[in-house]
């Protein structure tokens, strides 16, 4: 796997297209529990690389609807899997991208989402009861896309996030948990959607985020941990919301992301030399988009969806990415 100084778009498009093809693969079966997320990641990556039509719209929508669990009024990750907030959000995002939101029973999905809010304000992912600010973000994002935010108890939701703020200005998965860049993003993005960025100590958090950059240009998720391409999104999008993307050395991060590409089979890995996957592919491409990499489409850092689409729905919040380079 040799590194490259360019984003190999056609190769990555082909990689994403090939993901659903190998049903013989054991990995394909063992990842059924996140298939809906994977479809959303792949589709969004294609949109940002301006190849939205590389996957069949009809087949994708058919897959999404095959995951509908009627008793619950929600989506599972795969046919005959239990409903959960994460695949429900991904399903909504996919349908929004394909302008097919009318396929959803909005009142029932809204009811499912709201039923998962706990007395403390956080959300569970499903009836299993696991709580995490990731689920809080998923609920807020989903309700926003469904135009049902007015049904949310915003004060209760915001008060939970407030309590997750740590001494370093960051946020964790639950109250008391260590600050982690992915959790910082879900909390920051949720607050952005709810117009409550006042909860954040913005300069302190932006500095903590800037400190994620390591000498090799990559970003880590917490102090003194390894760099990983996915943090290119979590950290950069948070900084975009705080309007401080310039605090990251863009050239060094760009080189790092590009060096994690699989130049033979396509896709992007967590770091150079490792095997690629669709998760790191979307977040690497999304990070490059926020850095102004030429030839890419703008991504909305709050929703992790195409920016013009979010804007057309009147949902764009105040964020700033780096200007797109000409070449």
């Amino acid at each position: 796997m040799t590194s490259s100084s360019q984003l190999l778009i056609p190769l990555h498009v082909r990689y994403i297209q090939s993901l659903g093809e190998n049903k013989d693969d054991l990995t394909y079966h063992l990842t059924a529990h996140l298939r809906m997320n994977a479809v959303y990641w792949g589709l969004t990556a294609l949109c940002i690389m301006d190849h939205k039509d590389a996957l069949s719209k009809d087949e994708t929508i058919e897959y999404v609807m095959s995951c509908w669990v009627d008793e619950a009024g929600a989506f599972g990750p795969h046919p005959d899997h239990d409903p959960h907030l994460l695949p429900t959000l991904s399903a909504i995002q996919i349908l929004v991208i394909h302008d097919a939101l009318d396929r959803i029973d909005v009142p029932r999905v809204t009811k499912f989402i709201l039923s998962l809010q706990q007395p403390s304000g956080v959300f569970a992912g499903d009836q299993f009861g696991e709580i995490d600010t990731r689920f809080l973000y998923s609920a807020v994002n989903a309700l926003s896309l469904l135009d049902q935010l007015h049904q949310l108890d915003v004060e209760k939701t915001v008060s939970y996030i407030k309590q997750c703020k740590n001494f370093d200005g960051g946020f964790g998965a639950v109250i008391g948990a260590e600050s982690h860049a992915a959790q910082v993003w879900v909390c920051t993005a949720a607050l952005a959607i709810l117009d409550r960025l006042d909860v954040i100590d913005q300069d302190t958090l932006a500095w903590w985020l800037a400190e994620r950059q390591l000498p090799n240009g990559g970003l880590n998720g917490r102090p003194q941990k390894l760099e990983d391409v996915c943090y290119s999104f979590w950290v950069l999008s948070s900084l975009s919301v705080l309007r401080k993307v310039s605090w990251i050395d863009a050239d060094k991060l760009t080189s790092f992301i590009l060096s994690a590409q699989d130049t033979e089979n396509g896709g992007i890995a967590d770091r150079p030399g490792d095997l690629p996957d669709v998760f790191h592919t979307i977040f690497g491409v999304a990070g490059l988009s926020l850095l102004g990499y030429p030839g890419l489409v703008d991504i909305d850092p709050v929703y992790c969806m195409p920016a013009n689409l979010i804007e057309s729905k009147g949902l764009r919040k105040g964020w700033e990415a780096l200007p797109r380079k000409a070449s």
């Binding site: 049903k23 903590w208 000498p215």
Partner: protein, 365 residues
């Protein structure tokens, strides 16, 4: 990793070959499709079969265990297993022992840890009266009155903590493990357990002083949730924490976690950063510059060791923050040095600090 709990899936016959499973109709995942490796898929097909009939029995436990071993992220299997355990009144302490082996094998899986929470909750606390059925001990609304911890539950808590400690020996920064430890401490809420945590954190920081999770846990125990337990004399606590943190910085100055902790405790206690000036200054110089300084042994302000990499960027940052109040030109000098020489990666940040500080400089009349 040794398979502590016993047989792996390869040592057992296929479910399709077992006489005690002939009554269940396996439900294949994909119509008209022949998988290359059927051994892996059959447990999942049988799972779909028993879910359809809503069976809750011993053999369901066996089946869900097989699935979980293959795919620990299969959350439907976990859920169904939990409901089955309760329905057939299975011995939950045995379940915990099984989870011990799985937790180490599948450290980074959310479900393993959540299942553990559910089992412990089922054993040691009655269902909450507000009957959401879900476990959120950090809820700000007070849950039904907790009974005093019994000797049995105290012993269980210690065993659990010991288990978590063993897991942390494998991966000292595992996010789920630390989160679970916090949950456990809050769940049993026993003052003796909280007291033991300082020693625990110190042991871990001896292994790796750069373990950010351990530093965070220390804050949690001393100033966060743990603060509710004992430690009335907050002045003494601050003194102790400052002393400890300074010692760790002296050992390894270029340690972001320790400096973040220092800032955190100062801010939390409303202590001025300038109190730390004599401590911080030696770390902002090179070894050569320090040669001229008098070597006064100051136990309150441990100096950097001869091997320390100086100057320490975090120390310079800290000093600049001290100067910002009444000697902003000195702050600007430091920030320029950081931007152009010592921390060029974050040049834009340092330039921002300069700009902001100069904005606030009052105009001389």
């Amino acid at each position: 990793m040794p398979d502590i709990a016993g047989d792996g899936p390869e040592e057992q016959p296929l479910f399709s070959e077992r006489p005690d499973w002939t009554d269940v109709t396996p439900v294949p995942q994909y119509e008209g499709y022949n998988p290359i490796a059927p051994i892996f898929y059959t447990p999942q097909y049988y799972f779909r079969g028993i879910v359809k009939t809503n069976e809750k029995s011993e053999r369901v436990l066996e089946l869900t265990e097989a699935i979980i071993r293959l795919n620990p992220a299969h959350y439907s299997a976990w859920q169904y297993r939990y409901h089955t355990l309760l329905a057939i009144k299975a011995p939950l302490d045995a379940e915990l022992k099984l989870m011990d082996s799985l937790a180490v094998q599948f450290l980074k899986t959310y479900q393993v840890w959540h299942h553990r929470r559910l089992i412990l909750t089922a054993i040691y606390s009655p269902p909450p009266s507000n009957a959401s059925g879900l476990n959120d001990p950090t809820a700000t609304t007070s849950s039904s009155a907790k009974s005093k911890p019994s000797p049995e539950s105290q012993a269980a808590a210690r065993t659990e903590l010991a288990f978590i400690t063993r897991v942390l020996m494998v991966d000292a920064k595992n996010y789920h493990t630390w989160s679970y430890r916090q949950w456990l401490l809050a769940f049993f809420d026993d003052v003796h357990l909280w007291e033991g945590e300082l020693g625990f954190v110190e042991r871990l920081l001896e292994e790796d002083v750069r373990n950010n999770s351990a530093w965070h846990h220390r804050f949690f125990v001393v100033f966060g949730r743990g603060q509710l337990q004992g430690e009335e004399d907050r002045v003494a606590v601050l003194k102790r924490e400052l002393s400890y943190t300074k010692d760790q910085i002296a050992l390894a100055p270029n340690n972001a976690s320790a400096w973040n902790y220092l800032r955190g405790i100062l801010e939390r206690t409303g202590t001025s950063f300038s109190n730390l000036r004599s401590f911080v200054e030696p770390y902002t110089k090179t070894h050569e510059d320090r040669l001229g300084d008098e070597e006064i042994l100051d136990l309150e302000n441990p100096a950097p060791s001869a091997e320390a990499e100086l100057p320490c960027v975090a120390a310079l940052e800290f000093l600049a923050d001290i100067y910002e109040k009444d000697a902003v030109s000195k702050s600007v000098e430091i920030w320029k040095r950081l931007a152009n020489e010592l921390d060029t990666m974050r040049k834009k940040y340092w330039e921002y600090r300069i700009k902001e500080a100069l904005k606030d400089v009052p105009v001389q009349s």
